[in-house]
């Protein structure tokens, strides 16, 4: 059964067709990778699925609901979470607090209850902190809990950002270039981590340039070029796909 | 905790350090609240300078009623909330004998009840009728009433056969008070206000406003303001080709406005105290010597032209001195009673005759119709106007 279904999604910026008529599905419990040259419209597609951008036309169906036109926070409440290509951690907040923000949709203290400091809000606060620390343990960074997040090493910042998305308890996790800027060792650890996350039952859709990572962990790969889908298949088939080779190696060599 | 302690200590040392200066001999402590800064600085500035100068002069000559004056001068920045705080401070903490000021009606009205409850004489330098009507026993005002100015203007208009006028006023307390009086009194003189506009005191240009007057086809207009913008009105009116008579309020009584409007100000008619034309008054004029003395000492002291507003501070101190003299004591109630019964005191604004029902004291004759001729203020005469 497909958890996410994208139908004929289109988005133009002025004269530029960023995403044109893209349709695909992501099966529950799988890892799907989204690849393509720079400027192929991968991040735009992400933003359209996530609600950060409004599509010009087309539909997004997530978990049986039509979610296009929703705001990101509504999409998150429905069970999606994402990370960013350029790390967007909250400055002046510690690592665990960053992750705790991810618990937002799973806690409920509002303005009034929080101001009054009602006992249940305090209990909820403690539970949020425990959950955040649990996630840090799962990611193996529990010793950095109280460090200001933006002062961590780059690789660790990526992990905290991942943890923040996990804290949303998503059924579908969107990862925008999770290995960007990481060295080889860190990249392979990231790959293992993503596989582990999938094993906990989370469906993953990721954008990535590192082909080793993509081919190692993906169940399916979708290739975009100039905003259009040119292939959507198993990794091995993609590697042999003539059009993909043309896009990646240039037309002359094909 | 420590820092809070330090802050508290700091607050208290600042407070306790601010004790009154040591005075020699019997003293009378007078408080003053003026808008030395802020939107009404044009009023408060000359008032504060006048009072400082006169207190210094008086103390050299033995003070008032034999008492050295201890002046506590405060700047309200034209804010009522600050005037309230300062009035409470002066009355309760500095325990002043009387308060001179504030400069604006809005501030005065806010502290009227504070002075009344604190049984402290308040000599306001603002003009609004509401300051002395209804009468509060401790509250007086020394500025001439707007209603008198308005009546003088209307009388002049009648003489000139004007019945359809425009009214412009600035969006300050001075403008507002005048606007109310003009609106109230015009029907009684058979004069119709067909255009009535309030303009911003910070206006940069007022062509559109005078255009509206022009469109309304008025025979003359009154421009009631205390701020520089009133000169812009005069200029713009002449620029758009309005050649009708322009009447100003006594707020025009500051030669810098006439200078600012340049040739446009020529022929503007306005009621004002005789201070502006002191040197042209006949030798037997009752006010002449008082006016000249104040004018000369202010102008030599500060190297700037005296204005009628500084004169209010002069009159307030003068009246207080007379009352203390007459009462012969520093009993607030007795001095208040003496003040209330003062008759025929010649001040810069006119001749003051107080009574239990009239805490304003000035009559219509406080005003003299004046005009601008060759860049100078002169007494207006109908024959001169025709020429």
């Amino acid at each position: 059964m497909s958890l996410l279904e994208v139908k004929d999604l289109c988005k133009r910026f002025g004269g530029l067709q960023a995403v044109g008529n893209v349709s695909f599905t992501v099966a529950a419990g799988s890892i799907k990778a989204l690849i393509g040259p720079n400027g192929a419209g991968k991040t735009t597609l992400f933003n359209l699925i996530f609600g950060a951008l409004l599509p010009d036309s087309g539909q997004v169906w997530f978990d049986g609901q039509q979610t296009d036109g929703w705001q990101p926070h509504q999409v998150v409440a429905a069970g999606m979470a994402r990370t960013f290509q350029h790390i967007r951690l909250f400055p002046k907040m510690s690592a665990w607090e960053n992750i705790a923000v991810g618990r937002h949709v799973h806690s409920r203290a509002g303005f009034l209850a929080s101001m009054l400091g009602l006992p249940w809000t305090r209990r909820e606060q403690r539970a949020v902190r425990e959950k955040a620390l649990d996630i840090m343990r799962f990611l193996g960074v529990e010793d950095r809990a109280d460090v200001e997040a933006t002062s961590l090493a780059y690789g660790q910042q990526r992990i905290i950002e991942l943890g923040r998305a996990l804290a949303c308890e998503p059924t579908l996790l969107l990862l925008d270039e999770p290995a960007a800027g990481l060295n080889m060792r860190e990249t392979s650890e990231m790959a293992k981590l993503i596989a582990r996350i999938r094993d906990t039952g989370v469906t993953v859709l990721l954008v990535e340039h590192d082909m080793t990572l993509v081919m190692n962990i993906s169940d399916e790969v979708l290739v975009l070029s100039y905003g259009e889908k040119i292939a959507d298949d198993k990794p091995l088939a993609i590697q042999k796909h003539p059009e993909v080779i043309k896009v990646y190696l240039g037309e002359d060599d094909a | 905790m420590k820092a809070l302690g330090i802050t508290a200590t700091f607050i208290f040392t600042t407070i306790l350090g601010a004790g009154a200066p040591q005075a020699k001999g019997p003293t009378i402590k007078i408080g003053a609240i003026f808008s030395t800064t802020g939107p009404a600085a044009n009023l408060g500035g000359p008032e504060a300078r006048t009072l400082e100068m006169l207190v210094q002069e008086a103390n050299q000559k033995g003070g008032i009623g034999g008492y050295q004056i201890d002046l506590v001068l405060k700047d309200s920045g034209s804010s009522p909330e600050k005037a309230i705080s300062l009035a409470k401070r002066l009355i309760e903490e500095d325990k002043v004998f009387a308060i001179i000021g504030p400069s604006t009606s809005g501030e005065t009205l806010k502290i009227k009840s504070i002075a009344e409850e604190g049984k402290t004489i308040l000599l306001s330098c603002a003009a609004a009728e509401a300051i002395v009507n209804p009468v509060a026993s401790f509250v007086f005002k020394v500025a001439p009433s707007d209603s008198h100015a308005a009546r003088r203007i209307f009388e002049q208009m009648k003489k000139m056969g004007i019945s359809k006028i425009g009214l412009l006023s600035s969006n300050t307390g001075f403008g507002k008070a005048g606007k109310e009086q003009v609106e109230k009194l015009a029907p009684g003189f058979g004069i119709q206000v067909v255009a009535n506009e309030v303009y911003d005191k910070d206006a940069t240009d007022l062509t559109a406003v005078v255009t509206k007057l022009k469109a309304a086809g008025v025979q003359a207009f009154i421009n009631w303001s205390i701020e520089p913008a009133q000169a812009i009105v005069i200029k713009n009116a002449r620029q758009v080709g309005l050649s009708i008579p322009i009447f100003q309020s006594h707020g025009f009584g500051n030669i810098q406005y006439a200078k600012a409007a340049g040739p446009a100000a020529e022929g503007v008619i306005f009621p004002a105290s005789r201070l502006l034309v002191a040197d042209t008054l006949p030798a037997d004029d009752k006010q002449r010597s008082v006016l000249l003395k104040y004018k000369q000492s202010y102008e030599s002291h500060y190297k700037e032209d005296a204005s009628t507003f500084g004169g209010h501070a002069h009159d307030a101190l003068l009246l207080l001195g007379k009352a203390v003299d007459k009462a012969g004591t520093l009993d607030k109630e007795k001095v208040r009673a003496a003040l209330e019964n003062l008759q025929g005191v010649v001040g810069t604004a006119g001749i003051f005759n107080f009574s239990a029902r009239d805490h304003g004291g000035l009559g219509m004759d406080a005003f003299e119709m004046q005009t601008v001729k060759n860049g100078k203020f002169v007494v207006f005469s109908d024959t001169a106007a025709k020429k």
């Binding site: - | 911003d200 240009d205 559109a208 022009k214 520089p228 812009i232 758009v240």
Partner: protein, 296 residues
Amino acid sequence: MSLDLFFQYLVAGITYGTIYAIVAIGFNIIYNTTGIINFAQGEFVMLGGMIGVTLHALVPMPVAIAGAVVVTMLVGALIEMLFIRWLRRPSVLRLIIITIGLSIGIRELALLLWGEGVRALPYFTGTAVTSLSIGDVHISPQVLWVLGISAVMVAALNFFFARTLLGRQMRACACNREAAQLCGISAKNMVTLSFVLSAGIGALAGCVISPITYVQYDSGTSLALKGFTVAILGGLGNSMAAIAAGLLLGSLESFSIWVMPAAYKDVIAISILLLILFVRPTGLFGNAEAARLKDY
């Protein structure tokens, strides 16, 4: 309403508009190189007018104006060097509050120096009552002076920023400070220069408008508010847009007086400005990309 009156209101609107626009241009220059709004810009205008009037007592008017511009430029340079230059990576909000503090400080100094009196330069052409007339529509020649000088100023600035090396260097700093520094441009000097330039422009504006508006120690504040409004309405950083926006705002104010009490002139003008901002969140001619770059 007759056609004459319509045009007379339009003339009034043009008068307001040119005054606002000439002040707004100064905002844009500092904004373009530093990304901050200099809330002391109005004080440059006031200083220009005050110094111009003071000098005019001694020397002929053109010399006095030139003197005022030069002195105010020096003040601008001094301010930048004393209060801005040595700060390490200041946040935008910090810079804004510093300029607010400077604005208050300069105003109070002016009060000490010149008192609360009102001053003005004489009209460049004619006197306070001179006006050019077409039918029953009248316009003061000084308004044409302001309009003309604004136009010359914008043309000169466009030439400076587009064609001269210095101007291009300043623009480079505005786009990307680090990259500009790598190319050997002294970003700090460019910031100083932008203060000097906008102080000079402010001072010139102050002199040109002073016959119309007069100048007083606190006249900078209200001018700055209007200038800021116009700069925002046009879209920050764009001086041509500022002139258009100035004329638009001025006309709005003027025609609002025709139908509504003059007391609500600003209420109407600002309400319309807010409505425009809600529809176009980056001003009439601004672009979203630039606005995002210069967040707090």
